[in-house]
Symmetry: C2
Subunit: 387 residues, 2 copies
Amino acid sequence: MNATMDFADHEVGYDIPALPGMDEADIQTPCLILDLDALERNIIKMGNYAKAHGMRHRSHGKMHKSVDVQKLQERLGGAAGVCCQKVSEAEVFARGGIRDILVSNQVRDPAKIDRLARLPKHGARITVCVDDLANVSELSAAAQKHGTTLECLVEIDCGAGRCGVATTGEAVAIAQAIDAAPGLVFTGIQAYQGAMQHLENYADRKAKLDDAIARAKTVVDSLRAAGLTPGLVSGGGTGSYHFESNSGVYNELQCGSYAFMDADYGRIRDEHGQRIDQGEWENALFILTSVMSRAIPGQAVCDAGLKVQSLDSGLPVIHGRDDVTYLSASDEHGVIEDRRGVLRINEKLKLVPGHCDPTCNLHDWYVGVRNGKVEVVWPVSARGKSY
Amino acid sequence: MNATMDFADHEVGYDIPALPGMDEADIQTPCLILDLDALERNIIKMGNYAKAHGMRHRSHGKMHKSVDVQKLQERLGGAAGVCCQKVSEAEVFARGGIRDILVSNQVRDPAKIDRLARLPKHGARITVCVDDLANVSELSAAAQKHGTTLECLVEIDCGAGRCGVATTGEAVAIAQAIDAAPGLVFTGIQAYQGAMQHLENYADRKAKLDDAIARAKTVVDSLRAAGLTPGLVSGGGTGSYHFESNSGVYNELQCGSYAFMDADYGRIRDEHGQRIDQGEWENALFILTSVMSRAIPGQAVCDAGLKVQSLDSGLPVIHGRDDVTYLSASDEHGVIEDRRGVLRINEKLKLVPGHCDPTCNLHDWYVGVRNGKVEVVWPVSARGKSY
């Protein structure tokens, strides 16, 4: 699964936290670890769900940024391809052998458009989102220059208020321009509602998504009336995929976080009021950290601070421990409340990060563990690829 | 200055945002840029200050994580060495030719202690902090195993409540143990007050630091009485260095952020009530970002989100613009309020990051610009080195 990795030059602890075959106890901290059993169960579960609902699943690579995780999603979960947010990520996935890649974002910079238009030469199907008529001619010129084809989704604003056109008229006009443009193919619409994914209450999420579905349906109907039936109606995340799957409008999901989970997603509730990390999905991703100081009574300090996790969605949760609590982070330290003084120097703890996507982007490696052993060490292939 | 870099294999925009000699306008975004004139002025100013006050300045490499920036601080600012927080950072600086390295942190993991004890073989003076008597024998055994010498600072808690011993008795006991331990040298004390650096009000900072100085003085006096005069009394940051420099107790500063500055430090006030980014220090570090969508009236979306900056200390500030405001960040996007619709697609903006240290740690490169040209492209040499 990791045939291209050569570990010969790596010294454990300097530039890599573990090597395959090591005992889990010998992993150097802080680092990201993956519970491979939990990860595989999550991936298989989503694959089965999508299949049972007649949905294509395009797993979101912006979350894991890993060719190896993506290949596992395709092999075990039947994922039909990947989506990502940056041209540089698409380049990593294309070079890694992924054959169906959606840049679920706008690409406007001339140099980035040029690189995007070259990518189909790697043998990959490349799709990109458009929310501005002026972008159509830019993409078309680049595709013609390189003799390639770019597929395009018209992005509609589903209520998140970030990118995407606001009106059906704009959507149809852009679709018609794409359809008429040499080198471009009109493939469908991107209708992702990002702002509601993390609302805790199921009914609140459903209300937001009902609105998104209504917007998407209006656009789809208008496109059909204009003779431009969308092949793909794509969207959906870990907090919403039930709704898109049962909408009769969407035919492709873009879930990402379900595979790893995080503390913020874990708090959202399913239709029965149950947290989704207590049944629906398992925590498969952890920050492994070690206790390094107990100088102040009642607290311990661990080696996982701001440089190994993003706190934008809250503090990490210490997995499987209700006797100690992660209180605050500085650049390299985490302060842990330990009222009874139970923690020992060099004791290891597993943190469930607050937000998986930007946390993974801080690390170079995933250490995959099973039965107490390091089974794989995967590079975070597209880490830092923001260009 | 960058003799070891070989740019031949790099394609601009895939894995590097710029190449030396390019026009500033052609830099791919998002990325970190350094205003080299401002950086050099900051470095020279701090160097002159330290010299005038008879202080050693050990610049803090945990902020920039760059061998090139450190060498500039030594060449232009007379910095006497570097401090950093992790053994893996120390390894990077030692391999990069830095000759005086302080790990201003505890090292407790056996594998990390072993690596630390090997480092003096690279020709560097290596110093480490200790806040637990049990750590002394661990360090001593490793130094003896490798036939090296580790210098040790006893870390005292100066009111931050994180690491460091709380009592003078503990400090003296640890110093005596270090002094008696083969392979170790008692070099002094680490007395850094991190929690007060970002308090806006000068008098509030002074009060906290007066307390830290009093604690340090008590420990120094007791050590002297025990026949263990500390060679180094080290501490001080960008928000406090005036106080340590005039204390008569400290003889080494550890400032980091002054060189780059950030929005959070910029807000703190000097003794005259003036913001320190309006006279004392210049903003030399920026996140360069491009506008990529204007689909929603009254706002623009740029390509700099959570994956290129840390928001732990607040949002970034758009440099030199009072007509537009950075409102919120998602993983790859920043939403900018643009009420009058002045921004254009592909227009570039310079963001002053909220917090420089964890922001720099997200990036692979510093693009150094002067007079509209890219002059240097420096690797963030110790990026991700958290082990």
